[in-house]
């Protein structure tokens, strides 16, 4: 499934507006914010249709998975947005991750747990907030949990921490050399917390693929909050997105893709945007001096001009 969706769910007392642009969305937030009420309303609509008294405005089918036979449910459901409420422990399993990967549906999961098996975006972690009350109806809508992350410039005192060794680390090692600072790799995103814990009092810029960093974000963000003057997150969609956004590679229609990735990224083909951008960059540069590989960065990317372009994109990134 592709596309960006605005879903409005309401009865005569409460209305929810949910904005979804990726295949996996997580809803978190405080107790009492209406998460279960939202899922209950969709479940009633799903079962009884209009006769439920619930109205659902959506371009695609919206349904709730609340059965022990979740795997069969997901397998037989197509081109739909599937909501899953808190309390369903199967969302933690590798089998569920496999089912999501094989599905052409979008998933909206209510949970505060870190779903390590799923590559979901930091930007798709949402919370519900009441926006207004009028005519006896309370209006609620989704907002990103993590927005307006504080930025910093590279400097001599910086320590740059990347997720992995490989291409991204090679680029940031070059940037670090240019700024007279140091770049280290966490050797896997699940190690970032441990490395950060050892360097909480240093000026550190943590670089990770935002489109697949959702499961680690809550803990990493809490660590950042321990020393907000010195710890900073830089979370582009992915390193490949950073290259594509830096005017280094010429691809027909690239600007349109970067402006509205949801129109081009089919969730049944790519479990995360990171995978799509990697594929796009690999395919587009094959056989050229800029031939891209995740494990080793071609020298052409490390020219002074291209490194400057990457740094400019980082500086201007919102």
């Amino acid at each position: 499934m592709t596309g960006k969706y605005s879903i409005i769910v309401r009865n005569n007392k409460i209305q929810f507006t949910i904005e979804i642009e990726r295949n996996i969305t997580i809803i978190q937030g405080e107790s009492g914010s209406g998460k279960t009420t939202l899922v209950d309303l969709i479940a009633m609509y799903s079962r009884y249709g209009k006769s439920s008294g619930v109205t659902v405005n959506s371009k695609v089918n919206v349904t709730v998975c609340n059965t022990d036979m979740w795997d069969a449910f997901i397998e037989k459901t197509h081109n739909s947005i599937i909501f899953i409420d808190e309390g369903n422990d199967f969302v933690q399993s590798a089998e569920f991750a496999k089912a999501v990967k094989a599905s052409d549906c979008y998933f909206v999961i209510v949970t505060r747990e870190n779903l390590d098996q799923l590559p979901y975006s930091v930007k798709s972690i949402l919370k519900l907030r009441k926006t207004a009350s009028r005519s006896k109806i309370t209006f609620n809508r989704t907002y990103p949990v993590y927005e307006n992350l504080k930025k910093t410039a590279f400097s001599e005192r910086s320590l740059i921490l990347t997720e992995d060794k490989g291409s991204g680390n090679e680029m940031f090692t070059k940037i670090a050399a240019d700024y007279n600072c140091k770049c280290i790799s966490a050797d896997g995103k699940s190690n970032i917390k441990a490395v950060m814990s050892e360097h909480l009092d240093e000026h550190m810029i943590i670089v990770a693929d935002g489109s697949a960093f959702g499961a680690d974000m809550a803990d990493v963000y809490k660590l950042v909050c321990q020393n907000e003057e010195k710890l900073f997150l830089y979370l582009p969609e992915s390193f490949e997105w950073l290259i594509l956004s830096s005017d280094i590679v010429r691809i027909n229609g690239l600007e349109e893709i970067l402006n509205a990735p949801w129109e081009y990224i089919d969730s049944s083909e790519y479990i995360s945007w990171e995978r799509y951008f990697t594929s796009l960059l690999e395919t587009s540069t094959k056989g050229t001096p800029l031939q891209y590989s995740k494990s080793r960065l071609a020298n052409a990317y490390l020219s002074d001009e291209n490194v400057r372009k990457i740094v400019d994109t980082i500086i201007n990134y919102e």
Binding site: S31, T36, D89, R112, K193, D219
Partner: protein, 145 residues
């Protein structure tokens, strides 16, 4: 004392909402603690042990109160059991600490709850470490979730 088990915990009740609906006692709803929590978390008033008055939804059955509220009432009234407190938002954290001031409780956390206080005491059972401040709690917690 607040005891915490981070991560998987087979002894804990995972789906606290279902467990609450099938086990709560009427008197749990009408004591001072329940009234206070329901007012703070659900923004609602307890009408009686079977009904709550919500400003949004009107009179609702007790089974419709927030999942976090249900978990708090379970922790308070069944202190010998372990419940999945990751069904509680951070707005429930102060009430967990309040219960732990007078009762020994053990909760299961599958995420790092923000207790919104710099100083509080907890015993992390995964590594048998006692912490008395948020930073030490956080640095231990991230090892296990």
């Amino acid at each position: 004392m607040l005891n915490i088990i981070f991560g998987d915990c087979p002894d804990a009740i995972y789906n606290t909402s279902v467990y609450f609906n099938n086990t709560y006692e009427d008197e749990w709803l009408t004591d001072e603690f329940a009234r206070k929590v329901i007012k703070a978390i659900d923004k609602s008033e307890v009408v009686n042990s079977r009904a709550v008055s919500s400003p949004v939804l009107g009179i609702i059955p007790t089974e419709k109160i927030a999942g976090g509220t249900k978990t708090l009432l379970l922790i308070k009234n069944k202190p010998d059991m372990i419940f999945n407190a990751s069904t509680c938002g951070d707005n429930c954290a102060r009430y967990i600490l309040e219960i732990a001031e007078s009762t020994d409780i053990t909760i299961n956390l599958r995420h790092v709850m923000d207790f919104k206080r710099k100083k509080f005491k907890a015993h992390i059972l995964n590594n048998d470490v006692y912490v008395d401040n948020y930073r030490d709690y956080l640095l231990n917690a991230v090892k296990f979730v």
